[in-house]
Amino acid sequence: MTAASDVSSHAIARARWRPAEIAFWILALSCAFLFPSRYLIMTDILRLALFTLSLDLILGYAGIVSLGHAAFFGVGAYSAGLLALHGIINEPVIALVVAGLVAMVLGFLTSFLVIRGVDLTRLMVTLGIALLLEALAERFSNITGGTDGLQGIEMQPILGLFAFDMFGKTGFFYSLIVLFLLFLLARRIVNSPFGLSLRAIKNNPLRASAIGVPVNRRLIAIYTIAAFYAGIAGALFTQTTALASLDVFAFERSADLMLVLVIGGTGYLYGGLIGAVVFKMLQELFQTITPQYWLFWIGLVLVVMVLVGRERIHRWVLWGPNLVSRQLFGRKAVMAVPESDAP
């Protein structure tokens, strides 16, 4: 009994909202008013953040390495685009959910392939599925528009009230609200007993199954949920840019996604959000220095991060904020720490 109550009190303590987290979201909201001329790039960051959140769910919590997460992003993007283009569902919010569900179904079906085998097989299978979908989208170019992408998508106002404007203001708030709601859901999921069991699986699948965790079923469940998140991110992409082209499935998208998550740190949900901000800023910076060869610098960042060690970098980065929050809110109120550093 005591062990069980220990676990639950630990989980409840982890699930409590920290001051730093509240500050984070207030900061995110205030960005809308601080930089009113940069809605488009901020929307871009929010979409990427949501997409990375999705990868964090499977990689950071369940330990599934995926090189083809763009598959779900792409399916969500094309679903939202096709729904809007043919006027099947005109209401963006419902279309968003439907696109997410389509990706979710695909995630459920492919999860059976992914949970088999070791890391390497998983890498290959996820990569293969993404490439397969890209080839399919190219093959059926009469539906997807081929390399030109879907043309002439016109979005209806959200809930019939808020029309998408030229400056991306509506799109930004729409994305922010979607991200926040899905973040709350993800937070609930990872702090639930279900989330705890996922961590057990990540740390040691054999031991997890020995204490009675149904490993495969849990992995299928989280993979399906992550696919839903990625689908929503893809649908947001189409809805806010009125565009869907073949590159939504591109390998670079999946690889960049990994970089984003690794920059932010895995296994504490905020990693994706922080990583997305840092990544987009880096990208802007590199693109202004060397417009054509920014790929080189992104690659260098990856190499250096791995060589120095991801955990070490995150400790350095979090040292400052942790110090401040300790001074302000007392010892216990440290910033979220990446999973690998957590005691």
């Binding site: 890391d119 290959m124 299978v125 990994m258 790929l295 690659g299 990856l302 060589l307």
Partner: protein
């Protein structure tokens, strides 16, 4: 009937080429359990070295080929000693991130130095064109590829199976701890093997410029093909990847000829099905390490 033979011939040439390109990866990934997605970058290096030597410096094609091998091998051993070595024990995620980073860097660097357009190597006149063999059109260049790659395959098989170094390598792969206990210098064996694999990739890159096309995005475009060869072929011997590359080569050429619209769809489907059916590859060992 003759088209069938031409397809078979082209497919075999393509498959042989893939094997030379990927067999270094079969060792690092299959045997040393290191996910090296940057393998294509070594192939690209070899290809560009050969192109520069032949086109700009006027070297004969056959003299440039060994140099492509040597340069790629030297770069390989330098990287292995300085960077890769530290990552053997790290998680697959770290290895993937690191090698993707290297690939991105190589793509951008080659783009910067050589420009982004596709590059061609001037071939000696003897290798151009094709001749008829009982009505089947045989490309001279492809015939040369089959000869070179066939010889290399036989040599590799002999080295692995018959020489002292081959048995050291097999021992080091099977159980590094026991092997080093027996006095085998495991890191040295791995470094040498890694360099040799990179050299073969460089040679393959130089040979493939004519058939696969050489541009800065080569490592990304063909990464999946190399991985297919290794994962489908399994890692127990060199025959597995060899048969897998022949299968892949013939399948790809035939697929492009008979169902051009389906493109790479066929290959990916076959790969996924095989991986589901036998996660350790068609010719793999039962126990994954």
């Amino acid at each position: 009937m003759t088209t069938l033979f031409t397809i078979l011939f082209d497919g075999v040439a393509y498959g042989m080429l893939l094997f030379v390109l990927a067999c270094g990866l079969a060792v690092t990934l299959g045997l040393m359990n290191f996910v090296n997605l940057a393998h294509g970058a070594f192939a690209m290096t070899g290809g560009y070295i050969c192109a520069v030597l032949v086109n700009s410096s006027g070297w004969p094609f056959f003299a440039a080929l060994p140099l492509a091998f040597v340069t790629a091998a030297l770069i390989g051993v330098a990287l292995e000693r300085t960077l890769y070595r530290h990552l053997y024990t790290r998680s697959h995620l770290d290895q993937v991130l690191f090698t993707i980073g290297l690939t991105f860097m190589s793509v951008a660097a080659v783009d910067y130095i050589m420009g982004s357009s596709r590059i061609f190597i001037k071939l000696p006149a003897a290798l151009e064109g094709q001749f008829d063999f009982f009505g089947v059109g045989i490309g001279r260049y492809r015939l040369m590829i089959i000869v070179i790659c066939g010889l290399l395959t036989v040599a590799l098989q002999l080295i692995l199976a018959k020489t002292r170094f081959g048995s050291r390598l097999r021992a080091a792969v099977d159980d590094p701890r026991a092997a080093s206990g027996l006095g085998i210098n495991v890191p040295q064996v791995f470094a040498f093997t890694f360099a040799f694999g990179c050299g073969l990739a460089g040679l393959g890159g130089a040979l493939s410029a004519e058939i696969l096309g050489l541009d800065p995005y080569f490592p990304l475009k063909f990464m999946i093909y190399f991985l297919i060869v290794v994962t489908v072929g399994g890692s127990s011997s060199i025959t597995g990847p060899f048969l897998a590359s022949l299968l892949l080569g013939i399948g790809d050429v035939a697929g492009k000829y008979y169902v051009p619209k389906m493109g790479p769809f066929v290959i990916y489907t076959i790969m996924i099905v095989i991986l589901i059916w036998r996660p350790n590859g068609l010719f793999g060992r039962a126990a994954a390490r």
